[in-house]
Amino acid sequence: MTTVARKLGSLRWLYLGLVWAVILFVLVPLATTIWVAFFSNKILSFPPEGYTASWFEQAWTLEAFRNGFLLSFEVAVGASILAVCLGVPAALAIARYQFQGRELINTVLMSPLMIPAIVAGTAIYLFYVEVQLESDVQFAATTYGLTLAHTLIAIPWVLRLLVASLAGIDSSIEEASLSLGASRLTTFFRITVPLIRPGITAGVLFGFIASFGDLEKSLLLVGPGRITLPIVMINYLEYRTDPTIMAVATIQVLVIAIALIVSDRYVRLGRTF
């Protein structure tokens, strides 16, 4: 083997160079964002005059960012909980039963992941407006309208993680509970739920992450004074690039990183992907 590897010579360095260049290409922009968030320069320029953490304070005092963060958080929590309520029974059906239309139902439930987000967001907005015209109930530019749309984002993740989690559990344990006289409901809450709790936790966390970072589906659904963090960020970035916005981006990255690290304890990220 070593002789073969040596025969490769300069080609091997080319290959290794490409590999590390690609990895840097993915990671450097993210690292740059975090780096610049600590610059003491008031406007974006190089080299840094010094380092400070004051931009994080500044970001929190700006109402648009603070409200955006809180709204995104609220919507993401609501959406991931709602998605789990809908997703757990659906995952149970798909993982535990063979029935007609199983593939179709699975495709429908995974479709929010397949249908382009910008197209889906536009359709939901037009739908909300139509509903309001017919019934006078406002959905567009409301927190619950946004939460319902974000539930759609979270459902595929919940389903995917729970189906995987259910597949790893021996169904004979559930059958034992049933044959010993427990009802289906008792079996579900006393046997199935404790067994798939890691899957449920991971589902909630991934639903949260997908919702918290969403931009395209929400674009048309936000309203004055009710704008999610990614949209506040993109609106700001279109006109200004300064350390404050990089501090905001760093906070967003941090929140998502924490959610990911916690979920790594329940499902091994490296193995899921």
């Binding site: 659906a90 429908v108 910008i118 759609l152 931009l215 490296g270």
Partner: protein, 303 residues
């Protein structure tokens, strides 16, 4: 009660139980299916209908059945140009993702250190979830007139400042960086199942590394390459944040154009038509390449 009656009632009970069991999966998945149908499928159908309406400045739209919106899209040079830009940017991005992705996925699968492998996977998976805005923000800093690259260019190499931001090159760089993890993750799952001994056999039989890669690894990797390319192409066709932030106001791709038509121009029928052109093209390309892939797979005997 006779024994026959007992058996009969038991059979009836089993039949009821069976009927209930037959219903169970539908009852369980029902709420979720209704939810997705109501909040996604129905809106999409309504949007399809809206795309055939006629635009009216005073009333927003007039109920009609006209192909005007689609005809306008095809006939107008401006919108054709937007579609063309979207297509070629996506094609170049996908190609770059493929080249970079294959290299990294192969390296990750063949590295001898499990620790390096674990950290690499985390480093690739983490950015997947970070949100495109935060990641694209980094590219703005790098490419800006007073940004990192221009600073390095002027101070280290004493070159003159280059216009990097608001070019198609910036959009391609940004998209490639955002989408590479999708390609790597997809390829990685296939790479896992390729037995190293196949490569060793090829090397032992005298083939060079390059030949082994080309004749052994690449054909086995084909399903992953196919899936990864489709994913990258679809995602870049529908990209919003990157073209807006790195392409600037004069750079037009389909997704920002749809948003602009709905929210600023308030031409909902035309905006809906644009959305349907985008979703149909995406679906069509997926199906066509799936069929083509199936054929080559059958001919070459993989799959």
């Amino acid at each position: 009660m006779t024994a026959v009656d007992t058996v009969r009632s038991q059979l009836a009970a089993i039949a009821v139980g069976k009927r209930r069991r037959w219903l169970a999966p539908y009852a369980l998945s029902g709420p979720a299916v209704v939810f997705v149908s109501l909040f996604l499928m129905l809106p999409l159908l309504m949007m399809l209908r809206l795309s055939f309406y006629r635009y009216d400045a005073a009333q927003m739209y007039i109920e009609a059945f006209t192909l005007d919106n689609y005809v306008r899209f095809i006939k107008d040079d401006f919108y054709r140009q937007v579609l063309w830009t979207t297509l070629w940017i996506s094609a170049v991005t996908t190609l770059l993702c493929l080249i970079g992705g294959v290299a990294v996925a192969y390296f990750m699968a063949r590295t001898k250190s499990p620790l390096l492998k674990r950290y690499l996977i985390i480093a690739i998976v983490l950015p997947l979830f970070m949100g495109n805005v935060a990641r694209t923000a980094g590219w703005i800093i790098i490419l800006d007139d007073k940004g990192l690259l221009n600073f390095l260019l002027q101070n280290v190499y004493e070159g003159s400042a280059l216009r990097l931001l608001y070019t198609s090159g910036a959009v391609i760089a940004g998209l490639t960086s955002v989408l590479l993890p999708f390609m790597i993750v997809t390829l990685n799952s296939v790479m896992h199942n390729i037995d190293v001994s196949l490569e060793e056999a090829s090397l032992n039989l005298g083939a060079s590394h390059l030949t082994t890669f080309r004749r052994v690894v690449l054909p086995l990797l084909k399903p992953g390459i196919f899936a990864g390319c489709i994913l990258c192409f679809i995602l870049s066709m529908n990209a919003y944040a990157t073209p807006i932030l790195l392409g600037g106001p004069k750079f037009n791709m389909m997704a920002p154009m749809i948003y602009q038509q709905i929210s600023a121009a308030m031409n909902w029928p035309f905006g809906s038509a644009l959305a349907f052109v985008l979703i149909s093209l995406t679906a069509l390309l997926t199906v066509v390449s799936a069929v083509m892939f199936d054929r080559t797979a059958k001919r070459t005997g993989i799959a």
